[in-house]
């Protein structure tokens, strides 16, 4: 049909489709009209009225047939057929409720798993920020430095220059995560918030529900604009939804802030993994960040920012322009910007929040759930195949009655559609319930603080619909193959008595089972590899002893302590804790290893060491109190630990780690040598007094790197973390700590207290999430594959009772039959494992960075997966085999 014709007849076809009854009536009227004319014509020819009618009807032919032919000619009957198929299909499915329920459950699990992962991918990676406008043009901005793999933050002056000079960019804004002690009445807690540029709310298109956003200029100056916007949740829960909140003050880190606005419901800020509770302008940075006023310091890189490109903007072009600006900055400010670039990251790769961390896990998950879906489809396909065999009589009769094969296939597809629609609806519901489930997989404590919602938006729904169609095709087409083999005489013959696993139709069912087994084998291997990796990561020696150490903090800054008072407090607290029963040692440190806080870093210089021109000499360090090394049991190799006398009045000293000795002193003992560092923006020389063993600082997976310690007193921080090595239980040491803290100042509270072991565990949580997810889905896949194998074997046994009975009558023992059936099942399993192993060798590489010190082809892992799979195979075949062995030959032969 030409396009012109198609367009021309479109109204007609639409009319046939939507006004079916009217069109039908008109057609009938037309035919009646014809009949009337013929009758009157006949009467005119001299027939009697009776005769005239009979003759006229004879001439026209069967009225009903003509009507149907006209309908077919009009082409409006497709819908009628569909409705008919639908009714028939529903009736068919209701007739075998067990089968239907099983199929729907399989599909629900398969589709639900997919929809859940899609919703996470959407909610965490693609559209992570609800209520934020045009996220498709939003990119994360981070710095790069030659010689460093990890992206860095950027400095405020660099940000301003980028904002001014990038013509391809629509909006630049800053959103840097921070925390604050929030005391309302007598209740204090830590709140998570963002330090933002003044244009933040305008740039993301979020309008405060109450009050206003920030005004231009509120991000200028030092602590000059103490204003805050609070989140809807905070307003509801902590301020009881008070509509008169605007203009009131709230202390944040002990600085009174004026509440100028309340963010709308459903807006959680712009940080993947956390729901923000408040926003303050960048000018208040000094109140929330350590390290003082930084807005005019180009060398201090601390902000996290985003950019939205102009509509139709090209990322590559924008990156080009931004690189050009960065190059100009290198030229203009060589001291701070040499070797520094600026890069764009897609939102799902954002380096400074949890998106990048979860990306590899979610990538693997997308593949895994696709596997699970395929396994579920194979299962349902198999069920339908078995049933279509049962229904071959019905099919043949329909063929014999003149139904076209196309019509039969359409019927089968309709049945598939019914199943997959129910499965999809249920699956989407499952996914909706599971959308907040990701945080449940994280370690307790960490999980409660995290916010990782799935997003069930139109795109996820569309994906669900797509999956539904795909499933319909797969599960509908599989039994449709069957109709090819249908011949009209077949069902009239006696029931063919198959041999267990005979050829013919069996190959397809067996093929499906082999397919399922291979897919689940791959998942099994993947899960085992990840588990093995987690095992190895967990067994990494972090270089310090994690047992019996608790870590916590005291919000001195928020309580308004100045530096001298904080120093005094810290010394007094250590003095009170040390003599307590069960306390071995206690020490402050600005950062506890493997936690969230980041270390300070400084460019260093060492006598006799000449760095190459491009070399980064930034080294991270920690500010620790006396006894810190002993508390964490970081081995001191030579020299001495810090002591109380290493204070602000004493000469600057440092303890370096072994890697640093190797790199900067050529492995020679550095005790007594000089190390130039930059503390509080002043270059100073420190004397090395000790060498310690390497340990892990930020991640257990990191490779050894240079690191050093300085006394806390000599580079002071008001809110260090307190580490206590104790033999007491966590609860009693907490009680003791609170008692001692209150003895010093009854108004102080404690931050959350966790053991160091827990902190280490938290640092490996992405790995844990991956392992948990793939284990759950792998188990699901195994279950489905087991059910599939069981179904095929039971069916084969049920179909071949005659053969089994004969064999038995001819002297086969029950054990022979048992072996026959199990070996047949195991052959299928083995074939599946073989394919799975081959595919697995190629696919496990996708796990990439999630694997740690485990080869993607680890033979032990493959072997154990093999054993598990065989065990599943034997289990699945056992019941059918047992049934086969109990065949009663007398009864079979009699039947």
């Amino acid at each position: 049909m030409s396009i012109e014709q198609w367009v021309y007849s479109l109204p007609l076809r639409l009319r046939s489709f939507f006004l079916r009854h009217q069109v039908d009536e008109e057609m009938k009227e037309e035919l009646r009209e014809h009949l009337d004319q013929q009758v009157s014509d006949n009467i005119a020819k001299g027939m009697s009225a009776d005769q005239a009618l009979r003759s006229a009807m004879l001439e026209l032919g069967g009225m009903t047939q003509i009507e149907q032919k006209c309908r077919d000619a009009r082409g409006g009957s497709l819908w009628d057929d569909f409705v008919q198929d639908l009714r028939y299909g529903v009736r068919q499915l209701l007739r075998s409720p067990f089968f239907s329920a099983l199929a729907v459950v399989c599909l629900t699990l398969g589709i639900g798993a997919n929809a859940a992962v899609f919703s996470w991918v959407e909610g965490i990676l693609f559209r992570p920020y609800p209520a934020v406008a045009h996220q498709e043009r939003l990119f994360a901005v981070a710095g790069t430095a030659t010689g460093e793999n990890e992206p860095t933050d950027i400095s405020w002056p660099d940000f301003l220059d980028l904002q001014r000079n990038c013509s391809l960019c629509e909006d630049w804004f800053v959103s840097k995560i921070t925390g604050s002690t929030l005391s309302i009445g007598d209740h204090a807690e830590v709140a998570t918030g963002s330090i933002v540029s003044a244009n933040y709310f305008g740039a993301i298109g979020v309008h405060p529900m109450l009050g206003r956003g920030f005004e231009p200029g509120e991000d200028v100056g030092s602590d000059s604009h103490p204003v805050v916007l609070i989140s809807y949740q905070l307003w509801r829960n902590r301020f009881k939804g008070d509509p008169d909140m605007i203009g009131k003050t709230q202390r944040l880190n002990n600085v009174p802030h004026t509440i100028v606005g309340v963010a709308p419901e459903g807006f959680y800020g712009t940080f993947v993994g956390r729901a923000m509770q408040f926003w303050v302008p960048a000018s208040m940075e000094g109140t929330f960040e350590s390290g003082g006023y930084k807005l005019e310091d180009r060398g201090v890189r601390w902000i996290e920012s985003y950019v939205r490109l102009k509509p139709g903007g090209d990322r590559a072009q924008a990156q080009h322009q931004i690189s050009a600006i960065a190059a100009r900055l290198q030229n203009d400010f060589p001291v701070t910007n040499r070797g520094r670039g600026i890069g764009l990251w897609a939102l799902w790769q954002t380096p400074f929040n949890h998106a990048g961390e979860l990306l590899p896990t979610l990538e693997v998950m997308v593949v895994v759930v696709a596997f699970v879906l395929l396994i579920a489809c194979a299962n349902v396909g198999n069920l339908l195949l078995v049933r279509s065999f049962v229904r071959r009589h019905e099919m043949s009769v329909r063929l014999a009655m003149g139904a076209s094969r196309v019509r039969l296939v359409r019927q089968l597809l309709t049945e598939g559609l019914i199943l997959s629609t129910i499965g999809t609806a249920a699956g989407l519901l499952v996914a909706y319930w599971c959308r907040h489930a990701l945080v449940l997989l994280l370690p307790r404590g960490l999980g409660s603080a995290m916010y990782l919602p799935g997003e069930m938006d139109a795109r996820v729904m569309a994906m669900g619909a797509g999956v539904c169609l795909l499933v319909t095709l797969i599960v509908g087409i599989i039994p449709a193959f069957q109709t090819r083999h249908l011949d009209l005489a077949g069902p009239l013959k006696a029931d063919s008595s198959g041999v267990v696993g005979a050829r013919g139709r069996a190959w397809m069912r067996s093929g499906l089972v082999v397919f399922q087994v291979s897919l689940s084998f791959i998942l099994l291997v993947g899960a085992a590899l990840l588990l093995e990796s987690l095992e190895r990561i967990r067994s990494i020696n972090p270089g310090f002893t994690t047992t019996s150490v608790v870590t916590t903090g005291i919000p001195l800054l928020a309580a308004g302590y100045d530096v001298p008072r904080a120093k005094l407090f810290q010394d007094e607290l250590i003095d009170r804790l040390s003599p307590l029963a069960g306390v071995e040692s206690a020490a402050f440190a600005r950062v506890t290893p493997l936690g969230y806080a980041s270390y300070s870093s400084t460019p260093i210089a060492v006598d006799g060491y000449n760095p190459s021109p491009d070399e980064q000499t930034e080294v991270e360090y920690n500010q620790v109190g006396p006894g810190y090394l002993a508390t964490l049991r970081i081995p001191l190799i030579s020299g001495r630990d810090f002591s109380r006398s290493d204070d602000e009045n004493a000469p600057l000293v440092a303890i370096v780690n072994r890697t640093m000795v190797t790199r900067y002193w050529g492995g020679q003992d550095p005790i007594g040598r000089r190390l130039q560092v930059r503390l509080q923006r002043k270059d100073r020389w420190a004397r090395v007094v000790g060498v310690v063993a390497d340990s892990k600082y930020e991640s257990v997976r990191e490779t050894p790197r240079p690191f050093f310690y300085v006394p806390l007193r000599q580079d002071f921080a008001r809110e260090p973390e307190l580490n206590v090595r104790t033999t007491q239980s966590q609860a009693s040491i907490r009680a003791a700590l609170i008692r001692e803290v209150h003895a010093l100042d009854p108004n102080l509270a404690l931050y959350e207290m966790i053991t160091l072991q827990e902190q280490v565990n938290r640092s490996t949580s992405p790995q844990l999430v991956a392992v948990t997810l793939i284990s759950i889905l792998g188990a699901l896949a195994l279950l489905l594959a087991g059910v599939g194998l069981y179904g095929v074997m039971s069916y084969a046994v049920a179909q071949s009772t005659r053969e089994l009975g004969l064999r038995m009558a001819l002297g086969a023992q029950a054990t022979n039959l048992l072996r026959l059936v199990i070996s047949r099942g195991l052959r299928l399993t083995a074939a599946g494992i073989l394919f799975g192993a081959v595919a697995g060798l190629a696919l496990t590489r996708l796990l990439g960075n999630l694997l740690y010190k485990v080869s993607a082809h680890d033979p032990a892992v493959f072997a154990s997966a093999f054993v598990v799979m065989i065990a599943i195979g034997v289990t699945a075949c056992w019941l059918p085999a047992w049934r086969a062995a109990r065949t009663d030959p007398a009864r079979v032969l009699r039947d």
Binding site: Q5, E33, Q37, Q65
Partner: protein
């Protein structure tokens, strides 16, 4: 026995188009005209006429509208569309080519 399937494929369609090219008619009139011009040779049953009409209408070659006839009865009146006119021209040309070829062959065998 003359069933519509005995007609050359498409012949009925062409006849209907030809008849409607002369003037718009309703179904009854078309059937009378068919009988009249083909002197019952082609033996088109009324039963196959209506499905053919509906098919032609769906293809956009003819269109229909309800009209009141002289004795005040409503009847569905078919007329040729622009597309139908083109189709008729093509088919007649085709027909002429084929029939002249066939009659050429027949004459050949007479010689």
């Amino acid at each position: 026995m003359s069933k519509p399937s005995d007609l050359l494929q498409g012949t009925l369609d062409m006849l209907i188009l030809k008849i409607l090219a002369l003037q718009p008619l309703n179904g009854w009139a078309i059937s009378q005209r068919l009988k009249q011009i083909s002197s019952d040779v082609l033996g088109v049953s009324d039963g196959s006429l209506y499905p053919a009409l509906h098919k032609l209408e769906r293809r956009g070659w003819i269109r229909s509208e309800w009209k009141s006839s002289e004795n005040n009865r409503r009847s569905k009146c078919y007329s040729l569309t622009r597309l139908g006119k083109k189709q008729l021209e093509e088919e007649s040309a085709n027909w002429n080519r084929v029939s002249s070829a066939i009659s050429g062959i027949l004459k050949l065998s007479e010689v």
